[in-house]
């Protein structure tokens, strides 16, 4: 259940970009979560909703871009989607692989409405 502290870290980062009086304009927070980051997107959005309730960010939606685990293989020179975590190339079985994606845990950007929900 570390999704709660991850959600809090996201809120803290967003807070560095928008003043509290502007936070009501945030409609979407886009994050990138890799398949190997050990974070469950549904739990994360649940926690985000829970900790932003009653705050200026209450109207913001957390949008998760889930990034698959991909490896590139130096032996057969292919890139492919692999079973999460497996270091072996799905094509040739070599262990000479490098992780291309899947460990992401990033805040990408935030989208703001110029009109606050109260003004609608």
């Amino acid at each position: 259940m570390h999704e709660l502290s991850i959600a809090q870290s996201i809120v803290d980062i967003v807070g560095q970009y928008v003043a509290p009086e502007q936070a009501g304009e945030v409609c979407t927070v886009n994050v990138r979560i890799g398949a190997l980051a050990g974070v469950v997107p549904d739990s994360l959005t649940f926690c985000f909703t829970a900790i932003t309730a009653g705050t200026p960010l209450a109207h913001a939606t957390l949008a998760v871009d889930f990034i698959p685990y991909r490896v590139s293989c130096a032996a057969c020179r292919t890139t492919s989607r692999a079973e999460p975590g497996l270091a072996l190339c799905p094509h040739c079985g070599s262990a000479e692989t490098a992780v291309l994606s899947g460990t992401e845990l990033q805040v990408v950007d935030i989208e703001l409405n110029s009109v606050t929900p109260e003004q609608r």
Binding site: I6, S9, L36, A37, A87, Q106, I110, L112, N113
Partner: protein, 220 residues
């Protein structure tokens, strides 16, 4: 509609404190390990056997992370080594700032090896850098040979795997070879030790590795 680009790591605050911890550990010439496993794999018992074997060889300090109680810190404090307990009070993992606080309560003079025993959990601690030199993951035979495949992130981020409770192999349905192979499929560069903290088998090899690495000072 306007967009503010952020592009920042969610755990950057933790990573920054971990970096400071790493700097502090380097200043003390400390070899620091982050010991992780699922609950009951034998982390604390392994620590006890390690301290017993190395107490006259290596100066060891321990940080114990648990959700509740100081039972583990009391278990290792029996050996008269610097030990401090971190209570996460519900938290499923240690974070770098908790370790930084704990370190201020430790007498690090002369200490060569600091072992941070994380909360028993194979998921959450893999995300949180504490400032350690490497993660050591303990997997016990009773958990089954498929543990590495089920929790790949932890085995991928670890440098050392200790397969514990090998004395129980005759009584359970677990193949040591399959367990080791599964772990190496996730992380081919793992250094693997096979131990029984009950019989003491394999503990010497692990302790020799510890001494060798703790004494290998950076060439600065």
């Amino acid at each position: 509609m306007s967009v503010i680009t952020i592009e920042r790591k969610i755990l950057e605050k933790n990573d920054e404190v971990a970096r400071q911890n790493r700097e502090l550990f380097a200043n003390h010439d400390l070899f620091v390990l982050n010991l992780v496993s699922s609950p009951g794999a034998g982390k604390t018992t392994l620590l006890e056997r390690t301290i017993e074997m190395l107490r006259d060889t290596l100066k060891i300090a321990v940080i114990e992370g648990d959700v509740q109680t100081d039972l583990d810190a009391r278990r290792v404090a029996k050996y008269n080594i610097p030990a401090v307990q971190i209570l996460t009070r519900g938290g499923c993992h240690l974070e770098a700032n908790l370790v930084r606080e704990a370190v201020t309560n430790l007498d690090l003079r002369g200490v060569e090896l600091l072992i941070i025993e994380n909360v028993g959990n194979l998921v959450c601690p893999s995300n949180y850098d504490l400032g350690e030199e490497m993660k050591v993951v303990v997997a016990s035979t009773t958990e089954g040979e498929d543990k590495p495949l089920k929790y790949p992130a932890m085995f991928r981020n670890a440098s050392v795997l200790i397969i514990n409770k090998i004395d129980l192999l005759p009584y359970i349905n677990c193949s040591l070879t399959a367990l080791r192979d599964n772990a190496l499929k996730i992380n081919p560069s793992l250094t693997v030790f096979e131990t029984s903290c009950t019989s003491g088998a394999g503990v010497r090899a692990w302790c020799d590795w510890l001494v060798e690495n703790a004494r290998r000072k950076p060439a600065s």
